[in-house]
Symmetry: C2
Subunit: 215 residues, 2 copies
DNA sequence: TGCTGGAACGTACAGTGTAAGTTTTTGCGA
DNA sequence: TCGCAAAAACTTACACTGTACGTTCCAGCA
């Protein structure tokens, strides 16, 4: 008689479940007990496969970094950088817990290392010096993480933003905060949609790098 | 007989103690009980002056935002933006817990509002449209927060970095991560100090904005 | 058939934020 | 100076956290 054998717990399954849970319920909801329960297991059983909660978080980061499309050196470096930044941004929007986690720990997972190496390679082969490559990489990543983190405090939908702005307006008296007040009115009346454009800052950086390269 | 009267607890004192504790012991060490004990008081007494822990965190953010030197419109906008970005960066280095908190919550404290208003005003008076002002502000802040957050995972001291790099090198086999490997060797031998320069990315953005303005 | 190693389980502990109830301290009017 | 009300501190309690430690179960091999 074939007994219902429990499907084996693995590090892989645990990490996938973590990502799913954090995506759906938020990072705060990710506790070892809750994670275990989604896998129909007790909390302590997880520790047979992962070292501790930090290990889980590290694993989650490397897992989703693997979703970013890698740039390839040799072709149009600007297009490659634009593509990788946009992809990274999109991945982090799909996993809102990710940017916070990425910037608050040193990641040395295989996906992360490959991702960094591909980025450095593209910049270097585009003609930047090593120091420029390092700083260009850092500047672009600052934009990616900084922008994505800031975006998470804003309603993405322009209409939603307009109505949210209307609610905020009373907190912004003209005499105290004249510029915020006026900017907000422009958002409300639709003459500025208030959308923060990821590519705006990105293109400033890319153009600047291009001029650096030309010299 | 004059009894030793306890100095009165206030929201102000609580927030200052929070900042001090977080500066010294890190944000993780900031619990309501520990915070209370530094004030020689029980945890629940704090709730007579602050709504809850989130209120404390919000207050801490606004407190340190007040340390940033405000830009003023009318003069050299680029110098003003450079000064405010550098000041913001410096403040966040002095309070390493700050950037994380700032980007993970919507701040509407008086200091924050004044800070934003001054920034928007300077950009607007420099000749940018409202949409450009909004996006320029966002791009610069992305750099400030993103850069500062990334910096916190790196040893600040170049020598420290060089020796840390030597430790990392074995994790970066040439055949798998050729570019990271070579960059690391340059850091080790001192031909590139590995320092990530805050002004590098900032100037790229400022120059880009200047060209935008000129058009 | 019995043993062994691995994996899941159960219990326990120190810590968290904070609701609710109790006691102490303080400032003020009589 | 006294008495009292209100403010503020304290105490207890609860549900939750990560995880150390010890027990139990079970599949695969001798």
């Amino acid at each position: 008689m074939p007994k219902a054998r429990r499907s084996p717990l693995t590090r892989e399954r645990i990490l996938r479940a973590s990502v799913r849970l954090a995506d759906k319920q938020g990072l705060d909801a990710l506790s070892m007990r809750r994670l275990a329960s989604t896998l129909k297991v007790e909390a302590m059983s997880l520790y047979n496969h992962v070292a501790n909660k930090d290990d889980v978080l590290d694993g989650m980061v490397d897992l989703i970094i693997g979703e970013i499309t890698l740039p390839t050196a040799g072709g149009d470096w600007k297009a490659a950088m634009r593509a990788r930044a946009t992809s990274a941004h999109a991945v982090m929007l799909a996993h809102p817990w990710a940017p916070m986690l990425v910037v608050s720990r040193i990641s040395v997972g295989p996906n992360m290392l490959r991702y960094i190496d591909a980025t450095l390679g593209t910049l270097r082969e585009a003609g930047l010096s090593w120091a420029e490559t390092d700083r260009a990489w850092n500047a672009m990543d600052s934009h990616i993480y900084g922008f994505t983190l800031q975006l998470q405090n804003f309603p993405v939908d322009p209409e939603e933003y307009a109505s949210a702005a209307a609610n905020y307006l009373p907190m912004l008296p003209v005499e105290k905060y004249p510029y915020m007040h006026e900017l907000t009115t422009h958002v409300i009346d639709g003459s500025h949609d208030g959308t923060h454009d990821f590519s705006f800052g990105l293109e400033l950086i890319l153009d600047g790098l291009d001029r650096l390269r030309a010299r």
